[in-house]
């Protein structure tokens, strides 16, 4: 082909007609090369590039007004020639009439270009950025971390990439709700892109290869070549998982033998990415988005997406430059700090309660009292601050669940809109993990068993898409996490049948709905007729309840036939402090966690009776509840014998029916720092731990669930014969 100069190109272009397809294409190639020619002055470069691009539009038929486009290309090229001449004049002036530099003079005249030739005018390394087909890689085979790699750089890379991947995961979930969100697509694209670019430098060719395929898929979405369909979503999420696995593997390898293992499924996934064809999404084509996710924090879906994506993008963009700076602290130190502050609060209240300060000793020490009050304020502020250090938002857990919903919905063939609300609600860090498993199980259940299949829903006059709503909020000093589905509701009759079958109850006589629903928390109880892949994981609702109780929480169920089911989990704000009611039983004091208390009252004689086989019971507004005399259970002397002289406290822990505890009196509400009684004592039945009370003595915290269980197992509470309490 002919070598071409800028002048030649300009001259050629003027002669072209919009219909000269072939020549336009040739000239465009030539100009593209010319644009990159180092001998074209910088000032002219953009103009040459513009001309080349405009010709490209003509060549590829991407313009409607061919005349105008061609004219614009001419203008650009003319401007380029002018710019070159101007640059030359400046250069000549600078050279001060001296020796002409060949390179500069050559710019307009002799830059030899062969037309056309590309495809990649530069970058000898370019070929390795799209590594050899990874399908040849055997899953599970071993590679090593490149020897000469800068370890620090690798570690930075891992940290950064993990963050990138997390951001892209968030963006992918945004896309579930609004598949047209360009910013979200770009965020994901960028994550893969960044990982690809960096890993290639670090010699992590397998990762680079993988990221390349993932990036390509997303770039097809970005360029609107394909839509973000469910198949595409599936692949993207799997890619995110794959990258996570590979990153974790590098991290592990760095610490150990430097051997990288190809994750299982690598080849299959890379092949699936490379050959992805949306038209093969057949099975899912009917419902391109089987899962929609919404956050009610933003009313319109659009807002949600926009809100989520840039946030994710920014987070990824500025490693270490934005956001609150943080310090990692060992949790045992933090726990000890919180413990000590708890003690400080108690010590402070002991000082405040001292007769010398409170004035009850007769003397007036206003000044001292004022100082003590001041110290008290600071102490309480300190305590609040310390508590807040352990609090983390539920956001991470919620987004994990969002992901889960998606997977489960697809497997179960359900259409689900997953709405989350209040993900900024904070809970004690130590509770997050324990709450996680129950929620996972409950969310699975809600989709698997709670929601009906789309056809079934339609037949029942409901939308085909079911809704699962997960909300969190603060209420009355508790954190409430609510999971609500609009499915079919719990099948009361089936629960009764099953419970009788399993020997849990003899009949449902006298049982309220909530008591019946609570049966699903009984060990081994499962309403699923078939154990599916989704729910058959060996954990039942009994484990759910146990986990929640282990963090002093409570779970309640409400359900209406055809309308859906709501699980309400109530948790203390923090595990460090227990909100308790201090009660007196004889000469002893106990702390009853407030979360377990429904109400307390002084009974009328008419409320009390003894039922054969059930012992003492209390009847309140039609509800018959067994009574546990704490003094008998714990062998306390000098306690109130007759319930009408004491107080009854209704407690319940979710599973067991509500029970009343007989105590002498309530001494008041108190926040206490719960402590273990120590391994030496081991587990003490009915007692969950101890706490230092305001007077410096240890008070025992009741394990209400166990107390109720003890009270109901006849052996533990030997009821004296003829206890019938006559009015």
């Amino acid at each position: 082909m002919t070598p071409l100069t800028l002048d030649d190109a300009a001259a050629l272009l003027v002669q072209l007609e919009p219909t000269d397809q072939e020549d336009i294409a040739k000239l465009r190639e030539a100009l593209a090369d010319l644009a990159l020619d180092v001998q074209v002055p910088l000032a002219a470069q953009p103009l040459v590039a513009r001309a080349a691009r405009l010709l490209g539009e003509l060549a590829d038929h991407r313009t409607d007004d061919r005349e105008a486009t061609l004219a614009a290309a001419n203008v650009a090229l003319d401007d380029a020639v002018t710019a070159v001449e101007a640059a030359e004049r400046r250069a000549a002036a600078r050279r001060d009439g001296g020796e002409a530099r060949a390179s500069s003079a050559a710019a307009t005249t002799t830059a030899p270009i062969v037309v056309p030739e590309m495809p990649s005018p530069v970058a000898p390394a370019a070929s390795s950025s799209t590594p050899a087909p990874a399908a040849t890689v055997v899953d599970g085979s071993v590679d090593t971390v490149p020897d000469d790699s800068d370890l620090d750089l690798l570690r930075d890379f891992i940290i950064e990439s993990v963050e990138c991947v997390a951001n892209s995961e968030a963006a992918l979930l945004t896309l579930e709700a609004s598949p047209d969100d360009a910013e979200a697509v770009n965020t994901v694209f960028r994550a893969f892109h960044t990982v690809k670019g960096t890993s290639a430098f670090l010699g992590l060719h397998r990762m680079a290869g993988f990221a390349h395929e993932a990036e390509s898929l997303l770039s097809r979405v970005r360029d609107r070549e394909i839509a973000y369909t469910s198949g595409c979503a599936e692949l993207s999420l799997r890619s995110v998982d794959m990258l996570k696995a590979m990153l974790a593997d590098i991290d592990r390898a760095l610490a150990g033998d430097r051997r990288l293992v190809v994750p299982v499924g690598y080849s299959a996934l890379i092949a699936a990415l490379a050959s992805y064809d949306p038209s093969h999404d057949a099975s899912l084509a009917a419902s391109p988005h089987s899962v929609a996710t919404t956050s009610t924090a933003a009313e319109s879906g659009d807002d949600t997406a926009r809100r989520a994506a840039p946030a994710a993008a920014t987070a990824g963009a500025t490693t270490g430059t934005t956001g609150d700076s943080t310090v990692r602290v060992r949790t045992d130190r933090l726990d000890r700090l919180i413990d000590l502050i708890g003690e400080l609060v108690i010590a402070e209240s002991m000082i405040a309660g001292d007769p010398l300060v409170s004035g009850s000793a007769g003397g007036v020490h206003h000044d001292l009292a004022r100082k003590v009050t001041h110290a008290g304020k600071i102490t309480r502020e300190l305590q609040e601050l310390a508590m807040s250090m352990r609090m983390v938002p539920l956001r991470t857990m919620f987004s994990k669940l969002t992901r889960l919903v998606r997977d489960v919905a697809i497997k179960a063939g359900k259409q689900v809109e997953f709405v989350t609300d209040g993900e900024d609600t904070e809970i004690d860090r130590n509770m997050v993990d324990i709450l996680g498993d129950p929620l996972v199980h409950m969310v699975r259940n809600a989709i698997d068993h709670g929601l009906e299949a789309p056809d079934q829903r339609e037949a029942a006059g409901k939308a085909r898409q079911g809704q699962v709503r997960l909300s969190a909020y603060h209420a009355g000093g508790n954190v409430v996490v609510e999971l609500r589905d609009d499915g079919n509701g719990l099948d009361r009759d089936r629960i009764i049948r099953k419970a009788i079958e399993k020997g849990l109850i003899e009949s449902d006589k006298g049982m309220s709905d909530s008591e019946i629903f609570a049966l699903i928390f009984a060990p081994g109880f499962s309403t699923a007729d078939t154990v599916t892949d989704l729910s058959g994981r060996g954990v039942g609702m009994d484990v759910v309840r146990r986990n929640i109780e282990s963090i002093r929480g409570r779970i309640d169920i409400a359900s209406a036939p055809g309308k859906g089911t709501t699980f309400t989990i109530r948790l203390p704000l923090t595990l460090a402090v227990t909100d308790g009611m201090l009660v007196r039983v004889g000469t002893e004091r106990f702390i009853v966690p407030t979360v377990n208390i429904h109400m307390s009252f002084r009974p009328e004689p008419s409320m009390l009776s003894t039922v054969v086989g059930r012992g003492e019971v209390v009847m309140l507004r039609g509800e018959v509840m067994p009574m546990v005399r704490l003094h008998r259970l714990f062998g306390v002397a000098d306690a109130v014998e007759h319930p009408t002289d004491g107080l009854l406290m209704i407690v319940g822990d979710g599973e067991q029916r509500r029970t009343v505890l007989l105590v002498d009196e309530l001494l008041g509400q108190q926040q206490v720092v719960a402590k273990s009684l120590g391994e030496w004592l081991g587990t003490v039945r009915g007692i969950s731990g101890g706490a230092i009370l305001g007077d410096g003595r240890v008070g025992l915290i009741l394990d209400v669930g166990d107390v109720v269980a003890l009270g109901q197992s006849g052996a533990s509470v030997p009821l004296p014969a003829g206890i019938a309490l006559a009015a």
């Binding site: 513009r50 691009r53 970058a123 390394a125 750089l153 290639a200 500025t318």
Partner: protein
């Protein structure tokens, strides 16, 4: 000679800076996106190396904005990219990018690109 290195990936910035150090350059300013880069750019910067795809403001947008500034008209801008699709490159060049280098590059390739742009800027 002072370089402005713009990339949203800190790792990538380090890689570029390492490469520049290996070929004998020692003065760097770094920025995490185009917006920040515009803030950090001044006449003391003699060469710009920017990533393409960045949040907030892409490399192309950044270059365009840079070229509109009197002090940014003539500084060489080298774009680092992972893909060499012609249309994209042309779009970038139209915005004022002078050349590009494809990831992963060796310090040698980077040196060639820089050397090629330097006399033109003189």
């Amino acid at each position: 000679m002072k370089f402005l290195v713009v990339d949203d990936s800190a790792t990538m910035r380090r890689i570029v800076v390492n490469a520049l150090q290996r070929i004998g350059f020692n003065e760097f300013v770094e920025a995490g996106d185009g917006q920040e880069a515009l803030g950090k750019y001044d006449e003391s910067v003699k060469f710009v190396i920017t990533d393409w795809n960045m949040p907030n403001m892409s490399g192309t947008e950044f270059t365009k904005a840079l070229r509109e500034r009197p002090d940014g008209r003539d500084v060489p801008v080298l774009m680092v990219t992972a893909r060499s699709v012609r249309e994209d490159i042309l779009t970038a060049m139209e915005a004022g990018v002078n050349n590009y280098v494809v990831k992963p590059f060796t310090p040698q390739v980077l040196k060639e690109k820089i050397d090629a742009l330097l006399p033109a800027a003189a």
